[in-house]
Every structure is written in C-alpha cells, then in structure tokens.
C-alpha cells in the first residue's frame, strides 16, 4: 500500500505497554466507576424500596474498585512488552477505521 510512512514514529526498541495496556484502561475505568458509585452510595439517597434494602451503589462501587485494582496490579506485575517495531494496525473489514485503506481486493 502506498502510505506506510505515518506509523514511523515507533520508538524503535522494546518497551512496556504502559498506560495504554488494555488492563490499565480497564482498571482505570472500573476504578473510576467504583469511586463514583461508592460515593453515590454513601452520600446519595440509596432508594431501598428499589433494591430491597441493599445499598446497591455502594456494594457495586466497592466491587468495581476491587476489580479495577486487580487489573492495575496485574498490569504492573506482569507488563506486556511491545516489540521494537509495531506494524500499523492491519485493515479489518468488519471494523475499518476512517484513516485506514484497504488494498484493492483480490
């Protein structure tokens, strides 16, 4: 394909996936949701008539915090190493992004 230059800013040596490690993303999102829900459970009305008396926001929030922490810890302890030269993502017909192009097929 014609335009291959745009992915040339790879760092050139193996390194850890860092913030964009998918486990960190999951961990951050789950943790953020956990904090918000736990706070909502502690500070907000907890609507016991809906949940049958359980403070559902609080418990779910705590659960999500735990899950988020596990993912962050996992990513920290067993980092994924990104190889030296990463190819730009391959074109995927079921989920093409606008920037990518598909070589003329067949």
């Amino acid at each position: 394909m014609s335009h291959t230059t745009e992915s040339d800013e790879t760092t050139g040596k193996p390194h850890k996936a860092g913030l964009f490690d998918i486990r960190n993303i999951i961990g951050v999102l789950m943790g953020l949701y956990g904090v918000i829900l736990a706070l909502a459970g502690l500070l907000g009305e907890h609507e016991p008539d809906k949940t049958g008396g359980v403070n559902a926001n609080l418990w779910t929030g705590l659960g999500l915090l735990a899950v988020g922490a596990c993912f962050l810890l996992w990513a920290k302890l067993r980092p994924i190493v990104v190889p030296a030269n990463v190819d730009a993502p391959d074109d995927d017909p079921t989920r093409p992004a606008p920037r990518r192009r598909r070589p003329s097929a067949h």
Binding site: S2, E6, S7, E9, T10, T11, A17, G18, L19, F20, D21, I22, I25, I26, L29, M30, L32, Y33, I36, L37, A40, G41, G44, E45, H46, E47, K50, T51, G52, V54, A56, N57, W59, T60, G63, L64, V67, I80, V82, P83, V86, D87, A88, P89, D90, D92, P93, T94, R95, P96, A97, P98, R99, R101, R102, S104, A105, H106
Partner: protein, 570 residues
Amino acid sequence: MSDTLIDANWLDYLLVAIYFAFVLGIGVMARRSVSDSIDFFLSGRSLPAWVTGLAFISANLGAVEIMGMSANGAQLGMPTFHYFWVGAVPAMLFLGVVMMPFYYGSKVRSVPEFMFRRFGTGAHLVNAISFAVAQLLIAGVNLALLAGIVRALLGWPIWVALIVAGAVVLSYITLGGLSAAIYNEVLQFFVIVASLLPLTLIGLHRVGGWDGLTDKINAASDGAASASDAPPATQQLNAWPGEALSGFDSPLLSVIGIVFGLGFVLSFGYWTTNFVEVQRAMASDSISAARKTPIIGAFPKMFVPFIVIVPGMISAVLVQEMIDLKNGGSPEGGASGEGVAYNDALLLLMRDVLPNGLLGLAIAGLLAAFMAGMAANISAFNTVFSYDLWQRYIRKDHSDDYYLRIGRLATVGATVIAIFTAQIALGYDNVMNYLQTLFGFFNAPLFATFILGMFWKRMTPTAGWVGLVAGTLSAIAVDRLAAAGLFELSGQGVAFLAASVAFVVDIVLSIVVSLVTKPKPASELRGLVYSETPREDRTDPNEASMPWYQRTAPLAGIALAIVIVLNFAF
C-alpha cells in the same frame, strides 16, 4: 415520576459520558498514533488470548444477547439456556477445533471472499448480496433497540428516536468509534457484566432468591388467566425438553428440533460463518492462538445466560407490566410506545430495581453494545458493498480514493436503510423470533455450503450458488407458509424448522448438482478443502511443546465437559 419510562438523573448521564469519553478518546489517540502501544493492541498480533477471547464474545454481546435473550427468558423461561449450552458454546468449540485452520490458513477476510476462492463468481455474488442484505436487516434490529433506549430515557416518539439514534451511530463511526475496536469490545464486556450482575443479584434478592423465583413462576402459572399463552411452569423451569422454545408438543420432537435446528444448523451456522466474530480470531499471531480464541471465549460465554436470561425471568414475575403481559393482557407503555413487549423485560426491570448510579452504568453498557453492534453491521455492509460488489461487478480499476468515497456513501445509505429495516424489527414482540428467522434465511444455507465445500472436494462451483439460493428460498418459503397460517409452531419453532429445511435442501441440491457438473481441479483447493490441505497447514508445530492448558484440544475438552454438566444440572 416523569413521563419517561426510565428516570435518569445527572449521575447516570455522567457515567454514560465517562464511558464514551474513554472510547472516543482512545479512538482519537489511535488515529493520531499517539503511542505505538495502541497500535500494538489494535493490530492484534500476539495479544494475550484472554483479550481476543473476550473481544470475540463481546462482538456478539449486543442486541441478540442482551435484549433478545432476556425477552426470551421472560417469555419462555429456562429453555432459553439452550441458545448457550446447546447452541453457542458447542458451536464456538467446533469453530476453534475444526473450522478455524481453514479460515486462518487461507487468510480470507470475509465470507464472500472464502466463497470466491472455493466456488468462484456465482456463489460469491449470491453470498455477497445475501450478506449485505442480512447486515442491513440486523443493523435495523440494533437500531430499533437503541431507539427504544433513547425513547425510554427521553420520552420522544419512536420515529424521532430512530432518526436520532441513526445520526448518533453515524457520528460514532465518523468520529472513529470503530478505530479502537478491541479496547471498546473488552471495556464493553466489563461494563455490561458490571451492570447486569448487580441487576441479577438485586432482582433475585427482591423475589426471594432462586426459590422465590421458582415459587413465583409456579404461582403465576397456576393463576394464569385463560388469555395467557405463557407455557406451563414446569416447562419454564426446566431447560429440557423445551417444548415452549421449539413449539413441538412432543418432547422427543422438541429435543430433536432443539439439537438439530437450534444447536446444529442455526448456532453452528451463526458462529462459524459470522465473520464479524471470526475476524477477531483471525488477527492472532498463530493458528494455535486463532483456534484458542473462540475456545477461551466459550468459558465466559457459558455463564452469560445467568446474567441475561435470569433477569428476564425475574422481570416476568416482578415487574407489573410484564406480569400483565404474560397473563394475556396488553399493558400500555413500553420502549416502542405501542404497548409493553417482551423486549422491554430488561429495561423495565432496570427501572424497578436499579438506583440512580447503577442505572447509568447499565444504560452505558446497553448503549455501547447496540451502538458498537450496529456500527459493526454497517461497516461489514460497507466493505462487502464497496469491494465485493461495487469493485468486482460494477466499477473495476478505480483509485483507492474512489472506493473510499463509495464506502462513505454506503455507510450513510446503510444507516438510512436501517431506519426502515428497524420498523420490521419493531413489529416483533420478541426480537429473538425475528433474529432467529433471519439467521435461518442467511446463515443456515451458508453453513451447509461451507461444511460440504470444506469436506467434499467434488462439490462444484455451480452447486455452490445453486445450494445457497435454494436454501435461502426454502427457508423463506417455510416462514411464509407459517405466517400464512398453514401450520403453527410457537416459540422459535418456525425459525428452527426453516433453518433445518434450508440446511437439508442446500445439502441435497448441492450433492445432486455436483454429480452432474464439473468440479474445480484439486490443485486449486489447497487450504480450502480438508482432504487437499496437508496436516502441517492445519496445525501449529509449536503447539505440542506448550503445557496442556495452553493447547487447543484439552481446553475444548474441558469446556465441553462443563457445558454438559450445565445441561444436566438445569
């Protein structure tokens, strides 16, 4: 209460906004190549198998799963489990063990492309057209469900909600919602589980645990009005023999209908030929990893029914509108605005048991699932339309920019058409009936042609397209005969029957036609037909050195054992 179905407040919208900020944020960073870590994850090479496995099931955890299965759970009860334990899981194992080596080895990128390599132009054209039509119809289902949520939240008329939802999906695609696909899919999985699991637990708590649920189903069934067409409680509370699902009165026929119609034809057809999912596995770095992707996905998949079907069952005994509906009434309201339908089971349960906060999490998960689902349908349509149809048959040899422009037009066109196909979906009380009918039309004959073409080198190009056309037509004929009232099967029985007929017609005609036409030379079939593919092309030489828990066959065996136990337990 306001006049909207669901009463969301700022907290809920905050949670929804955070989700989309994450998804679109990563999409933007991916397109600007901020970090090669993102490229690494998106290119999918040597990703951990749990990531591709989750993406694999998440790609399907949209309309079909969440709304369709909970609607089915509310209407029919536990026989719905068959979709997972007789349907999806064995099919996913079969995909990993048997089919994947051919897909991976031949490097095809779409179903029509495989058809072209194996059978040439005729089958390719037929399949490309039917695939494109199927994607438009399924996009309509996703759009209808998305619009239902918009309406439930904001109280707009359904046609306004449809247009707005279509515009939202279009901007999601344009803003690059699909460029961070693997991140989205994995995040989506966790958000959905994080909202449906509490929903199930709180729901169970409200009805008094599992015993309370069964008691209430028994009581509702005993006290059912004569207008009620709900199946008896014993059928709702046992997965087998599932007469309510298959529509056969005889338990034996019912079991055959479920195992052959649902299990073999529909589910194997769906999972093995649906490249929206198969594609996830194709991106891995070796045959071994590609084969393990659906198998690893099968493990969480086994337990998904507990958080989609059980809430449906709870909804049917806890939510007043659902109780009325199941008792033969036609309560007002519902997401479509034309009375409550089984499709509303999950939304109504969310309204009744989730406090603000958790409600927002659930809405984020549902919006994400339908939006991503529809976006995937639209781009699959776009690819097949621009490259498989337009480039091959209408305008050859134009520039890349030209086909990109065609693709963009196709995306907009498909979204507009989906607004109309959504109307068909809205006409169904239980969206599962509609989806299974569509799969019977499109996937069952495709599966028959695939499997015969893969294991019988004598099958000819002519047989390829004749089988597909005849299979689809016969499934449509069965469906129309049932609609005309010539015979009657409740539940999804008609869809199972149509799929089975399509499969049998396709196989028989393909064999007959093959015997009188000329096959392709064997040299062109390497990698496409089992007997013409050397063993080393089908297996990964490194796999023998891996520990047992990383090898394909033992993993598949464990998954199969668990699913058999689940079948006996329920």
